[in-house]
Each structure stands twice: as structure tokens, then as C-alpha cells.
Symmetry: C2
Subunit: 229 residues, 2 copies
DNA sequence: ACATAGGTTTGATCCATCGCAATGACGGAT
DNA sequence: ATCCGTCATTGCGATGGATCAAACCTATGT
């Protein structure tokens, strides 16, 4: 996706070579000492890493937003998760990434070598536990999402999405969605048109307000919770 | 489900009190010493633990089969995984189980206290790593399944299911499915009728043979792989 | 301020899957 | 061996969401 050879992520993002080594003060894993972190930036729609590429780095979003996804051979896409500021992504127990990652908007990430995390886990039980807990958190989200994808109606999915985003990125009661309708559809297992229709209906019913297609205010969260099933 | 109060799993299975303490020789976690395991049996359709119950035990299937699932308030069900002999299930990083578990057929499991595993992980890095790896394995499965649920057609889902079961429980080229059509449907995000229709079509096309609805022989695995997308 | 391109909304139609109902086939119990 | 209850299959009509198409915004850069 987007003219990226099968090279490790850092080399891939040659456009913005803002490599800033940061010793210590690394909040990714309970601020563990001895870890060297770097910052890196990706432009909108730039690939961070591809599916099945070696998982040499673990990432944390500083600012911006990231989508991780799987593709079928004919182009159908399933987005597994959106990653917002402070979220960690790309953490793998196995050798390779199992989903690809792309910047949704211009994005800055912090990253550490996966190998250094494994070393730290080998000596520090707290780190090992943190790695497990983070993976378990991803699993929890995936399990909830399987229920959504397998058994919920379009409206229930959209209501769920709005509540998730409201919880994760609403500042002053206002949500500024970084992703387009197609991304939302590919996250919810719907088409972009169905997402748009559901949002329009919620707007008509007064459940939410728009100021631009991606600026949303929720007027009635309880109503959304009821719709979420 | 099936008249089970909200008590921890071991107490719940009062029907078959086959509690057999087994010191050592416990293959659940790379045969770690000092862990006490017990065996336990559940009858067909008996609940092993409920959603959001305390996750005090980790289980391994000895014989039989287990389904783990989530329910919506109106009864819609999403099965997250089927667990077959040797599979571990019920391993959680958090306090509670996030899916319920039921025996699909009469089933015997081995179990250890989750607390004893955590203790072992605190002193033995190998155990800690194994816990992480197992959770990561569950996550991988869930990610693949999200793609299936969100983006694949009914026939693609059924083809995928047949290949998964073939890989996991085919002995002499023959598959003996422990679960009914409804279970398969709730796993694949389909109705039982749609599953049945897909299987009938594959039978008509000569891709598989039946000897009883749950005894299946695959005649053309490559064809199924092509259908899986 | 304007033009443009990408993104979004909305409308009209189609179709894969659902939901219901009836029939049929096993497998377990007697 | 036979009966019976559960499970599976099949047919048919309904429908939610997909697909195709057009119009409409609104951010971005000129």
C-alpha cells in the first residue's frame, strides 16, 4: 500500500527522517529504565508496516491516528483497530506482524526495538507482566469486536463505534474523527454508504449533531447505549 | 445457561465430582513443577464458567469439546472459539472471564488455579513468556476471525471452518464434528440454515462427503482453500 | 475568492442471507 | 428391532445491507 517496499518500518518512513533518540523517560512500558526510544513521523496514508513483515519494533502513538488491518486478495479490508494518542500498537509475541499499519492522518509515533523489550522482560517480571497485559487488552477488544461483526445490526455497530470514539477522543463533548467513512465501514464490517445512512438517521433523530462530517457531538449517549444492544 | 448459579467453575460442576488431584506431570504449561492440577468432567451443554465470572482457573481439554461465547441481551450469540483436546482455554490476564464456556459434548478437562500460574510466572520467566505466548495465540485467532466475520461471504466462511476443523481434528481424513449446525452458525456469524445450505452445495459439488451430518470427509482441500478467499 | 478533488450524502435497485415452515434423517433409548 | 426426540435439510418469501449512480459538500491549495 502506497509504494512501500518490504523493509522494516523505520527505513520505510524515509519521508520525514525525524529520528530523535530519547534515552529513558519512556512511558511505553511503565517507564522502564535502559530502553532507548525514538520518535518518527508518517504522512497521511503512509504505511508503517505491512502484514507479515518482521515485528522488530513496538509503537506508541504520540499524535495522529493509526489503523491496523488485514486485506483479502481482492481488496476487501477489515480494520482490526484504530490507535489514538498514547495507544501502543505493533506489539507481537511471534516473529511477524499479523496486521498491517497505516497512518490515518499525519502521525508521530514513539518506538522501541522489540528485542530490547524482550530482554527487559527476561530480567524484570513487571515488564513481562506488562507485555502480557497489553496483549490481553488487545484480545479483549478483538473478542468484543467479533460479537459486533458477527451478530450486531448496522445501527448497533455504528452506535457502538460512536460510544467507543466518544470515550477515547472526546475532549469538550466534541469528537473530531480522524478517519473517513470508508475506514469506519471497514472497521464495522459495513459499506461506507451504510455508515453514512446510519449517521444521518441518528442526526435526524437528534441523537447527534454535526459540524462538518467528522466533527460530531453526541446529544444523547444513553440512547446510543440502548441501541448498542 | 442450564441452571448454573454464579459460582466458580469447580463448584458448578457438581454433577460429576471426579476431582482427582494430580501432582506434577502437568503438561499445561511446559510441565512446570510445583503446580497442582485436577481433572474434572462436564456433561453435554453444561456450563463450565459464565461471562464475567472470576477467572480463578485455567483449563485444558482432555477429551471432548468446549465452546466459548458471548451473548447479547436478546439471545444472539457469538462463539469466539471451539476448544478441542489439548487446547487451553479460560486463561485471562484480568480478573474475570470475558466469554462464557460450555461443554459441547461430555467433556473432561484438566485445571490449575490461575493464582498458582501467576506465582510461577513471578519466579520463572519461561512461564511468564508462555502465558504471553498463549494469549497472543488467542489474539491471532481472533484477528483472523474478525476478517472472516467482517468481510467474508457465507461460502468463504464455511470453507474456512472446514479447513480449520480438518487441520485440528481430522484423524484418518475423516472429521467427526462435535458441534451442531447452530454452533457452527454462531461461530461463523451465520444462521444454521445458511451453514447447512453451504455444506449441501459443497456436497453436491463433490468437494466433501457425508456419513451422517457430522461425519465429513474432504475430497478436495485445494478447492476449499480457493473458496476461502 | 475561486477552483478542484476527495469525501459524503442520498436515491434507486439488487441480492445474499435471514426467517419461517415443513419435511426428512439419524442416533439414543427402550 | 422399533420408537421418538433432536437435529439437519430444503423450500419459499421477506429484508437488511450491498451495489451502482448521481448530486452535494467542504477542505485544500492556487
Amino acid at each position: 500500500m502506497h509504494t512501500q517496499p518490504l523493509t522494516p518500518s523505520v527505513i520505510g518512513a524515509k519521508i520525514t527522517p525525524t529520528i530523535r533518540p530519547i534515552a529513558d523517560q519512556f512511558g511505553l512500558l511503565t517507564g522502564h529504565a535502559g530502553l532507548v526510544a525514538s520518535e518518527f513521523s508518517y504522512r497521511k496514508d503512509e504505511e508503517i508496516y505491512g502484514e507479515d513483515e518482521p515485528a522488530d519494533y513496538v509503537y506508541q502513538v504520540i499524535q495522529g491516528a493509526v489503523r491496523t488491518y488485514k486485506l483479502l486478495s481482492d481488496g476487501r479490508r477489515q480494520i482490526g483497530a484504530f490507535h489514538l494518542p498514547n495507544d501502543v500498537f505493533g506489539l507481537e509475541s511471534g516473529i511477524n506482524h499479523r496486521l498491517a499499519a497505516e497512518a490515518i492522518v499525519d502521525t508521530t509515533v514513539r518506538l522501541v526495538k522489540r528485542r530490547s523489550l524482550e530482554q527487559a522482560a527476561g530480567t524484570d517480571v513487571k515488564v513481562a507482566q506488562k507485555l502480557w497485559t497489553m496483549t490481553a487488552g488487545d484480545l479483549r477488544h478483538a473478542e468484543d469486536h467479533m460479537l459486533l461483526l458477527g451478530r450486531k445490526s448496522a445501527m448497533e455497530r455504528v452506535a457502538n463505534f460512536l460510544l467507543e470514539m466518544d470515550r477515547r477522543l472526546a475532549i469538550t463533548g466534541m469528537m473530531a474523527l480522524p478517519m473517513c467513512r470508508r475506514d469506519i465501514g471497514d472497521y464495522l464490517g459495513l459499506t461506507l454508504e451504510t455508515v453514512s445512512r446510519a449517521l444521518s438517521q441518528l442526526h435526524d433523530e437528534g441523537v447527534l449533531g454535526f459540524s462538518g462530517a467528522r466533527q460530531i457531538v453526541l446529544h444523547n449517549r444513553q440512547r446510543l447505549r440502548n441501541m448498542d444492544a
